[in-house]
Structure formats: structure tokens, C-alpha cells
């Protein structure tokens, strides 16, 4: 069993990459992917702590997190799809207004 801090470091790096991506990228799909990366990083943390403390709660939490991520992706991409149909691209710079 490696020290939990190893995992936390990797998770932090991945999370940071995700944040970087969300902040710099334009394409909505890319942003969604970066969000998935961040969620993954969080899940790694959860599992790492769960096995560090030998508890199952973290696992359950990750299961719910995965379910949530799936739902989020479905909705998110659906919104992107809808934007795409009206704007013909998924560049989020174009959707700076709340109605279109």
C-alpha cells in the first residue's frame, strides 16, 4: 500500500490540468472532457482515502459520483447539442448570453 499522499498528488495534478483546460479551452466538448477529468481526480481522492481508512463509504460515494457524472455528461452534451443546432458550433464564446 503506497502512501495516500502519492495518489493525492497525482489527483491534484490531474485536477489542475482539468481546471486549466476548463479555463483556457473554447470548445464546449473539450470543456466537458476536462470536467470529467476533474471528477476523476476527485474520485481518485475518494478511493484513496477510503482505502487509507479501510472504509467502504468512499467506494459508495464514488459509485454515486460516477452515476452523477454520467447524468451530467448526458445533460451537458444535450445542451451542447442544442446549442450546436442553433449556432452551428460549440464554441462557448458564442453563448455569452442567456437566451438565444
Amino acid at each position: 500500500m503506497l502512501p495516500v499522499s502519492y495518489y493525492l498528488i497525482v489527483a491534484a495534478i490531474v485536477f489542475c490540468i482539468g481546471v486549466y483546460g476548463v479555463m483556457t479551452l473554447r470548445s464546449g466538448i473539450m470543456i466537458m472532457m476536462c470536467i470529467e477529468l476533474m471528477l476523476n481526480a476527485a474520485n481518485i481522492n475518494l478511493i484513496a482515502f477510503a482505502s487509507h481508512f479501510s472504509q467502504v463509504n468512499g467506494h459508495v460515494f464514488v459509485l454515486f459520483s460516477i452515476a452523477l457524472a454520467a447524468a451530467e455528461a448526458a445533460i451537458g452534451f444535450a445542451i451542447l447539442m442544442s446549442i450546436f443546432r442553433s449556432k452551428n458550433n460549440v464554441n462557448i464564446d458564442n453563448i455569452n448570453i442567456l437566451r438565444w
Binding site: 447524468a71 455528461a73 444535450a78 447539442m81 450546436f84 443546432r85
Partner: protein
């Protein structure tokens, strides 16, 4: 704990196999097979016609409904798998109330998911668009 990881060691090695064998084969083939340099050879095949336009076309947006349904059911599966284990443990150790309850919960859950399917079905989302 260590045993679980042990069980996945073959899996890891299989991944390595899966990566190495095809690459090795491709490398060998590259060495022993003839090569030729005709530029037309590298053009895209389109039944002998000259390909026009980009091949990376768009799928109909309507199909996205299938993807949503897929995620819906995949998540259902995700919860069914733990349920199987729980149900098994319950029914083996304490048959009776707990078993019934876990089944009831699952049936309710499945009905909710099925409602989603039925709703989309009725909405005509499952019809392949013309």
C-alpha cells in the same frame, strides 16, 4: 488486499501483450513486406471514384436520444450490480423482510427507469429518423 491486486497482475500483463503483439506484428510486416510509392495508392478508396468532400460527416442529432437512454440504462446497471450482491447476501443470511425490501426497492428503481424508456418510446425518439 494484496490478493485483489494479484488478480489484476495478469490483466496488466495481458494489456502489455495486447499492445506489444500487434505492434510487433506490424513492425515485422513493415520489414518483410514490399513497399511501393505510388501516390494514388494512398488516396482514399471510394469505389474508384475521386472522393469528394470530407469524410468526417455529421450524424443526425436525433440519435443523441439513444445515447441518453444508453447512459440511463448503464447507470441502472451500475446500481443493479451492487444490488445483486446485497440481495444475495440478504436472501442467504436473513430471508424474509430484508429480501423483500431489497427486491421492492429494486423493482421501484427499475420501474422508474422503464418509465424513461416508455416515455421516449411514446415520444417517438426510438424511431430511426428519416
Amino acid at each position: 488486499m494484496a490478493e485483489i491486486i494479484d488478480n489484476f497482475i495478469p490483466v496488466a500483463i495481458f494489456i502489455v501483450f495486447g499492445l506489444v503483439i500487434p505492434l510487433a506484428i506490424m513492425f515485422i510486416v513493415k520489414q518483410i513486406s514490399p513497399r511501393s510509392k505510388n501516390p494514388i495508392k494512398f488516396t482514399t478508396y471510394e469505389s474508384g471514384s475521386v472522393p469528394t468532400g470530407s469524410a468526417n460527416m455529421m450524424f443526425n442529432v436525433e440519435y443523441y436520444a439513444y445515447a441518453i437512454l444508453f447512459v440511463l440504462f448503464d447507470v441502472e446497471l451500475l446500481f443493479l450490480y451492487p444490488w445483486v450482491t446485497v440481495y444475495v447476501n440478504d436472501s442467504v443470511t436473513t430471508p424474509g423482510f430484508t429480501t423483500g425490501f431489497s427486491i421492492l426497492a429494486m423493482v421501484l428503481f427499475m420501474i422508474v427507469v422503464l418509465l424513461g424508456l416508455v416515455y421516449e418510446w411514446k415520444k417517438g425518439v426510438l424511431e430511426w429518423v428519416r
